[in-house]
């Protein structure tokens, strides 16, 4: 395990968006707290802090997780992808582009979680039905859009990604 306890804090080595990252954290701190408060990666949001809203979604070792429900020390040796790593230097991810073009956000606070979750879906299932999109995204709450334009944006992005593949 890439951890070492220093004066009550744990030294954690992990990989975030492809870069090796070291941090010190109290064992009681969640991954979400460390991302936001120690590492300045504030794209993941706290909406409920108990795994019910998906606003803090990140991908850890290939699995979609609520980072509020992961202890930061569990990140040791893991590979983590956050919303900050979704766009590339060349431009936006097709999902991000599709969210913009389909007006799939209003206040925007749930948007990073939806995009991270939808990306995980499309990596597992590049050709989902509307029902499969709704089922997958049922762990992400949006209070503004009524989901209609989000679901359309994900289906639209899936189509573009299949066409480009």
């Amino acid at each position: 395990m890439a951890t070492e306890i220093l004066s009550g804090k744990v030294h954690v080595q992990t990989t975030i968006n492809g870069e090796q990252v070291d941090f010190l954290a109290e064992p009681r701190e969640s991954l979400l707290e460390v991302l936001r408060d120690h590492l300045g990666l504030t794209g993941a949001k706290e909406g409920c802090n108990n795994g019910n809203c998906g606003a803090c979604n990140v991908v850890m070792d290939g699995a979609l997780v609520n980072s509020c429900c992961v202890l930061s020390v569990e990140a040791a040796g893991a590979s983590i992808e956050t919303i900050e790593g979704v766009a590339s230097p060349e431009g936006l991810h097709p999902l991000q582009q599709s969210f913009l073009e389909n007006a799939a956000l209003q206040c925007g606070v749930c948007t990073p979680g939806f995009i991270v979750a939808a990306k995980a879906l499309l990596e597992e299932n590049p050709n989902p039905t509307e029902y499969e999109v709704r089922w997958w995204l049922a762990g992400n709450l949006c209070r503004c859009t009524g989901y209609d334009k989000i679901v359309r944006a994900v289906l639209d992005a899936a189509e573009r990604m299949r066409a480009e593949a």
């Binding site: 802090n49 809203c53 007006a103 956000l105 606070v109 009524g146 989901y147 334009k149 679901v151």
Partner: protein
């Protein structure tokens, strides 16, 4: 780059053609919101910052005997503990600004930190600043509070009884006739609205339907929790960063609550993760400010979800009675309504707005509406999207449906026959201007859903319902400052926080008026030091009022450009014409971009500005159709298909008009079918989490079909009507009427949750 997607039907009742208005550009703030770079209130971290947390009452109603914070203060890492003793005594001051001016500041102050008594479970009692949030949370457990627990009063019908425990000992009812009650009670205010002769109207009726309805408390449910960061400098300057619907309102409340000069308070509006009326008032900002003052450090505070549900401002539960009289040929002769709403722990519910809306879709010759604002041991309630209208019109639209069933009249035909139209009376308001209820009803009648028979399925109980909704919208004050840059682009400072694309809907009106491309306008939500007075983002007012300010500012800029060109071209300014973004006179012509370059050489940089307080909001109508299936075993109601029709006046930014309609529908469906605060008998909130306070997920709803109707508002140069709120009004009634169509049940309580529907089905059998 433009939005290229399935464009929903739009039905225009005007001949105007626009270049920018009605198009679908990418919103200006979109990029940073899809990349996670947008900065919301909780995303700020200042050097030397401490973290604050709030101790909350475990009781619904109790006297505070003592508070001893000495153990907490002794904890390593704790810098300060505050209680209501640290807040100035507000005396008899009244609130200004916000959605409900004129209320005693002492109530707001006591809601911020309890003074002598706690009025609800979760009421703030003390606040702590510490080096991190975990130490702050530990410190809360070390604050010793002794309570004398009192009997709670939770429902309006109990609180209004003569022998009910009185929650606020010096609260005397403000009566409808302007007098004040002699004895204290829980009824803060009574209101009465009358038109015509209601008794004579009921005497003329062939059929009278009289029904009672009750409501659970519901929360706005924004995904971002409340937060505030404050830095009180040693010279008295106070900087506050927060996610609020109104930075100027927060500034005013800080001034009122802290007795601090407004010029020394600077509020920076961060991005806001939803509000829906629930972020129109301060909760944490004054506490963070006091803790910063006491510690000399910036202090950041953020609520957790349980705090949000327990201690912010949900919208009221309560009671509505609606009685309507009609003739056998389906003409309404009279209406009577009685509304009693939870104010929560302190006075000031949205019952007055409910009174105004209850019969608004109809031209009713005789009507009487009574309202009661009732203090109960629940959190101080606040606005939630068309506040009060959803309760009121759930009741009246259910009664209308029952009338139609009883008389065997088509519900569309009945509503068309009785619809309010231009020139008809409104409760306590001037007669209606041009409105679009009839046009919405016709569009609903002609919609694909209404024209397609409901698909039956063997063994399934399915039904279809229709309902109208009205919300009056609000004007209030808005400001815009527009700076012409030397390349012809415009930096547009506006005071309205942007919750759902209003930077763009405001900028589009500016671009239309000045005749430039939307991409050449850069809209910025400015802080309280950088733009003129702007009231809360609420009342569906931003695209209407801030859009008007932008239009006026563009005209101001046009005049300034013309004056500058007049000197260059040696003509009178009023001889210069402006069309399609080009200024011309005397054989000279210049686009805005060319003019900006010419004026730069002369050292002229036009700044268009405007502050406006418009009052002709126009009012908004919606008609919704719901198809449902009721599971007989579980009582669960599934939405099979849904169409929302709405008069937008003129839809400035259609994808976001559709978004408001769809979002309002889904909030309304959540209210209709699931959402409700659950209390035990002692007044403890039992479901303060997003698992147990269950809002709709993507799996709970279908796509929402939208039809935008455009009946221009004569009170706005582009015909804008606010669109944000009215779409939450019809869903509970449309769903209830569909449940009746499916099962024959008349549901009289919101939410129509599975256990309630199941019980009603069992009682029916």
């Amino acid at each position: 780059m433009a939005i290229d997607t399935r464009v929903a039907p739009k039905i225009k009742h005007h001949d105007e053609e626009y270049k920018v208005i009605g198009t679908r550009p990418i919103r200006h703030d979109g990029l940073e919101k899809v990349t996670g770079e947008a900065r919301y209130g909780s995303d700020i971290n200042l050097p030397g910052q401490l973290h604050g947390k709030v101790l909350r009452s475990p009781h619904a109603h109790a006297r505070i005997v003592s508070i001893d914070a000495s153990r907490a203060e002794a904890l390593h890492g704790v810098s300060a503990v505050i209680t209501s003793a640290d807040l100035p005594d507000p005396g008899d001051k009244l609130t200004t600004g916000g959605e409900a001016p004129g209320l005693p500041v002492k109530f707001k102050s006591a809601n911020m930190l309890a003074r002598g008594k706690v009025h609800y479970h979760g009421h703030a009692v003390a606040a702590v600043a510490a080096t991190n949030q975990h130490i702050a949370a530990e410190a809360l457990k070390l604050i010793d509070v002794e309570y004398e627990v009192l009997d709670p009063v939770l429902e309006v019908w109990d609180a209004m009884k003569p022998d009910a425990p009185v929650i606020i000992e010096d609260l005397y009812t403000a009566k409808a006739d302007g007098t004040t009650a002699d004895e204290p009670s829980n009824v803060a205010a009574e209101m009465l609205y009358e038109v015509g002769d209601v008794d004579a109207g009921f005497a003329e009726a062939d059929l009278v339907v009289d029904r009672e309805f009750t409501f659970g408390v519901v929360h706005q449910g924004y995904i971002e929790t409340h937060n505030a960061t404050a830095n009180w400098l040693k010279d008295g300057h106070l900087h506050v960063w927060c996610s609020s619907q109104g930075a100027f309102t927060i500034r005013q409340e800080l001034a009122d609550l802290l007795n601090h000069p407004i010029t020394k308070i600077h509020v920076v509006p961060m991005e806001i993760g939803g509000g829906f009326g629930g972020k129109t008032t301060a909760y944490l900002e004054p506490l963070a400010a006091l803790l910063s003052q006491q510690t000399g450090h910036p202090v950041k505070m953020a609520m957790d979800r349980a705090d949000v549900l327990k201690a912010t401002g949900p919208t009221p539960g309560g009671y509505v009675r609606v009685k309507m009289g009609v003739t056998n040929d389906g003409m309404i002769t009279a209406g009577y309504a009685n509304l009693a709403f939870d104010a929560g722990g302190y006075p000031g519910s949205v019952v007055g707005a409910g009174c105004r809306c209850v019969f608004a879709p109809y031209n009713m010759p005789n009507a009487k509406v009574e309202g009661f604002d009732v203090v109960v041991n629940k959190p101080k309630t606040h606005a939630y999207r068309a506040p009060g209208a959803t309760h009121a019109e759930f009741a009246s639209e259910t009664v209308v449906d029952e009338i139609c069933r009883t008389l065997d009249i088509d519900p569309v035909e009945f509503r068309l026959k009785n619809s309010a139209k231009e020139g008809d009376w409104q409760l306590a308001q001037p007669p209606y201007p041009r409105i679009g209820h009839i046009e919405c009803m016709e569009a609903a009648r002609d919609s694909a859903q209404w024209q397609t028979p409901l698909e039956t399925a063997p063994g399934k109980k399915r039904g279809r319902g229709i309902a109208s909704g009205f919300w009056f919208n609000i004007g209030f004050t808005s400001s815009v400052i527009a700076k012409l840059n030397s390349d012809g682009s415009v930096t547009l400072l506006e005071g309205s926080t942007d919750i759902g694309g209003t930077r763009t809907s405001v900028a589009m009106q500016f671009a239309e008026t000045l005749g430039i491309a939307i991409e050449d306008v850069d809209p910025i939500v400015a802080d309280t030091d950088s733009v003129g007075q702007t009231d809360v983002t609420g009342g569906s007012r931003v695209t209407f009022a801030t859009g008007l300010a932008a239009h006026n500012a563009a005209n101001d800029m046009k005049d300034q450009i013309a004056e500058g060109l007049a000197d260059l071209w040696d003509v009178a300014a009023d001889a210069i014409t402006h069309a399609d973004g080009t200024f011309s006179a005397n054989g000279n012509s210049a686009t805005v971009r060319e003019a900006a370059g010419l004026l730069e050489e002369e050292g002229v940089f036009p700044i268009g500005k405007n502050t406006v307080t418009p009052t002709r909001e126009g009012g908004a109508f919606a008609v919704h159709i719901a198809d449902v299936e009721v599971d007989e075993e579980t009582g669960k109601v599934e939405i099979l298909r849904y169409t929302a029709v709405q008069d937008a006046g003129v839809a400035i930014y259609p994808p976001y008009v559709e978004g408001q309609m769809q979002g309002g529908v889904v909030q309304g469906v959540g209210w209709a079918l699931n959402e409700e605060y659950v209390y035990d008998d002692d007044g403890h909130l039992l479901n303060a989490s997003l698992l147990d306070y269950r809002m709709p997920t993507a799996l709970d709803v279908p796509n929402i079909e939208t039809i935008i109707v455009e009946v221009p508002n004569p009170g706005h140069p582009y015909g804008v009507r606010g669109v944000g709120e009215v779409p939450i009004v019809p869903p509970p009634a449309a769903v209830a009427n569909a449940i009746h169509d499916a099962t024959g049940l008349r549901m009289s309580h919101l939410p129509m949750s599975p256990p309630r529907v199941q019980a009603a089905l069992a009682a029916q059998a």
